[in-house]
Every structure is written in C-alpha cells, then in structure tokens.
Amino acid sequence: MITMRTKIILVSLVSLMFVTRHVLSQCERKSYCDDYMEDYDFRSQSSYGKLSPGDTSSVNVVLYGNQTYRIFVCNDPKLGTVNWKVVIPERKTKRTINKIKKDTVLIYETNEYGDYKTDAEGNLIIKSRQINIDTILDTERITIDKVIYDSKQQNKDPYFEITPQKSGRYIIRVAVPAGDPKYSGCVNVYVGRKAVGSKSLIKKGSISKYSN
C-alpha cells in the first residue's frame, strides 16, 4: 500500500519538477478529442492554455530519435477551427574565429567515484593547473521554420505522427481565428510518446497538465 501511494505521490512530485515555463494561462484540463489518444503517453510535453480569438501561441518541445510521437491540437469548439502547424526550427550556424585564448584550466580533486569533491563551503577543491590553448568561436544562429505539418492542408488525419531518426527540437504553432475578443477558451496541445514496454510509469493514453 505504501509503495503504491508513494509511487502516486512520486509521479505528482516528479511531475512538478519537470513542468515547464508556461506562459499560457492555466486552463482546466479538458479533453476535446479523446479518440486520438490511443496508446500514447501525453504527460511529458503536452500543454494546456486559455487563448482568445486572434491569439497565437507556440509550444517548444524536444522529440527523441527513434521514438514515435503523435501531436494534435484540440480546443473549445466556441473558438472555431484553430489552425496549427508543426515546424522544425532549422538551425543554421555560422562560426567565426573570435580569438585564440590561452587559458589556465583548473583540475579538481575527485573522490573514488570520479565525482568532484567540494570543501566545506561547497567550492570545488583545486588539485592542479593546466595551460590550455583554445580557439574561441562566435556562433551566429539563425533559425528558419520548416513546416512539416499544417492542419489547414490536411483533410484526413487530424493528428500528426512522426518517428524522428534523430532527436530534435520541434515547435507547435497555434493560431486562433478572429472572433469576439472578450471570449477565451481552452486550447490543448497534445504531444504524446508511443508507450513502449510495460513500465508502470507509462500510463497509456495518459493526459495531464504536467510532464511526468
């Protein structure tokens, strides 16, 4: 009994740790499209928020390679048809040499496990110093949206499924159609990872306001 309860509270507590910066207002959990859940775990990176007509919103997520994900957006029907896109923020980088730096690198004392030791004040304990020559590069990052799913252009699957070959950052961009600005309703962005195996913490079809 204790173990079960501990695990439940554990999920709550751990979930609290991994909730993200959420600038969308908190929204009561409402599932407007239960039929799309199937055997995916939606607890990790789904997002729920209250939006008004004309609002736009983004949810930035990371999808691991070789895992299958299902993404969809459901909303309060009073908001009308909310359009959404899944985009890959393709990052282009330009690196230029800023300077060549000669640095003294501090070597710290480690314990028997290879972890750094700290003194009574929590500072790392210096063991020796080493001179390193390092090239300092400036990195200019430019991201360009590459749209891989647009709800406007879909007339069959109301959700987007992807099994990325390698891990990457994805953005779900949501746009609420114009309407009465005084009204606001829930818009839920579901990002589900296909449940694999029988781990008890993977609750198939799970939805929540948090990541676990």
Binding site: I9, T20, V23, S25, Q26, Y64, T93, L201
Partner: protein, 272 residues
C-alpha cells in the same frame, strides 16, 4: 495577470533589442534569430523538456546498472539553506527518486521521496500534496485511473499556488537540477566511450534539452542569483555547440569528455 507580466517583459526585451541593435551587433551574434513568420507578433510560448523519466526508462531498457552510489546522498539535505539551493536540489532529489522508481528500487524510492518532500515543504510547495490529496489517494487505492486523475489535480493545485505566490521562478531551477542529475547518471552508466553507444548518443542529445532549459530562464524575472547558474549552463552549451561542427560522428571522444567534465562540475556545485 501572469500573461500580462510576461507580455510586458517581452515588450521591453523587444524594444530593448531594437534600441541596442545597432550598438551591439557583435553581442547579438549569439541571439536566436527567428524567421519573419515567427517574429511578426508577440507570442505566448510554452517551453517543454522531456522528463528525465524518459531518459531513465531508456537507460533501464538498455540494461544499464542501477548506480546507487552516484545518487545525491540524502544527508546532503542539511546543506541546502538557500532558496536556490533548495530548488535545485529538489530537482536533483526528484530526479534520483524517478531513477530509483524506474529501476524498481523501492527502498531507495521511499527514502528519496521523503527527502524530496522535505525540500518541497521547505519551499512551501506542499499545496498540491496536502492531506486532502493523500485521503483521496487512499480512497482510490484500487483505481489506477482515478489515482492518476488525482495526481493531475494535485499538480494543478501546486502550480496555481506557485503562480499565485509568485514562486514560478523556482521552476527552471528545479528543472535544471533534475536535468543535470539525469545527465550525470547517464554519464556514469557509460562504461567506455563509443560514439555509437546509445546512451552516449542520448547524452549528446541533451544539448537540445539544454537549449530549451536556457529558453525558460528568459521568461523569469532577472534575479542576480540566477546569473551564475545561467553562466554555467551557457558554458556547457558552448561545449554542446561544438557538436554542430561534426560531420561523420555525433560526438567525438574529446567533445564527450569536455561535456562530461562540465556536467560533473556543475552537478558537484549544485549538490555541494
């Protein structure tokens, strides 16, 4: 209210960037420049990071060993006297708790739950985990669906409390602590470097999560105490940036070792 506040921040940041654009073109080199489509209007943004549990399940399925000796010792709890240290280590302990649970170490799970709960209490984050929730859990002990709904409710209560009390700034710290602990445990699970090793590849992937974590700090109010943490994370990100130059391998041994050393140093300072 919160949205308005964020909107003000973003407006100020945007105006500030426009004003300083010409004067600091060199400094702006590291800014993320979105395409026209994404910068045309002020947007509400949610930044998400996969839970460390996903990494732990991956490690468990990869048959890595449970490494009890690499968890943050419970006794360290007494060292955490500041709000920032408590928040960081609430993340660290919660991550350890998740690790123990995934690896089915029930004794350790209970111990780490207790210490995480103590830190949560210290930070006043108990509202989602009060007696009512415990009673509801007891009443629904045989109904797993209800139990999961209860945990959702408890989370919502806790978040509402955090926002109402202006404690939402603690969240990036907790996430940072949890994340660094998970990366450290993944690193410890690698017995020998091999760029093809699936855990090594997952460690290389963590640069993506780091990027999102750093994004989160942009949305919290500027607290000077955060600066040192952000700088450490930025330094780690500079090592992850080097992976972008790779063509044939995801990560080289030298790059891996650089990341490992930085993760170990950051983690040691967090838990020390």
């Amino acid at each position: 209210m919160f949205i308005k506040r964020i909107s003000y921040y973003l407006t100020f940041i945007t105006v500030g960037m426009l004003i300083s654009c010409k004067q600091t073109s060199q400094e702006n080199q590291n800014l993320l420049i979105d395409s026209v489509e994404t910068t045309s209007e002020l947007q509400k943004t949610a930044i998400k990071v996969p839970s460390p549990i996903e990494l732990y399940i991956f490690m468990y399925n990869s048959k890595t060993k449970f490494l009890k000796e690499h968890l943050n010792p419970i006794d360290n709890y007494n060292k955490y006297n500041t709000k920032i240290k408590k928040a960081l280590n609430l993340g660290v302990y919660s991550s350890d708790l998740a690790y123990c649970t995934v690896f089915k170490q029930n004794k350790e799970t209970f111990a780490y739950f207790s210490v995480a709960k103590k830190l949560a209490d210290d930070l006043g984050l108990t509202e989602g985990f009060d007696e009512n929730i415990v009673k509801r859990i007891d009443a629904n002990m045989n109904n797993s669906d209800s139990l999961y709904q209860i945990t959702n409710d408890s989370y919502s209560t806790a978040i509402l409390f955090l926002e109402q009390q202006g404690k939402e700034d603690l969240l990036p710290l907790m996430i940072t602590g949890a994340w660094i602990e998970s990366v450290n445990l993944a690193i410890k699970s690698v017995e020998k470097f091999d760029p093809e090793n699936e855990i090594v590849v997952r460690i290389a992937d963590q640069g993506l999560l780091l990027e999102n974590i750093l994004e989160m700090y942009k949305y919290v109010k500027t607290d000077p105490e955060f600066t040192s943490i952000i700088n450490k994370l930025l330094d780690l990100q500079s090592s992850y940036d080097k992976l972008l130059d790779n063509t044939n391998v995801i990560i080289t041994k030298k790059q891996y070792e650089e990341i490992v050393n930085k993760v170990k140093a950051i983690r040691a300072q967090f838990i020390g």
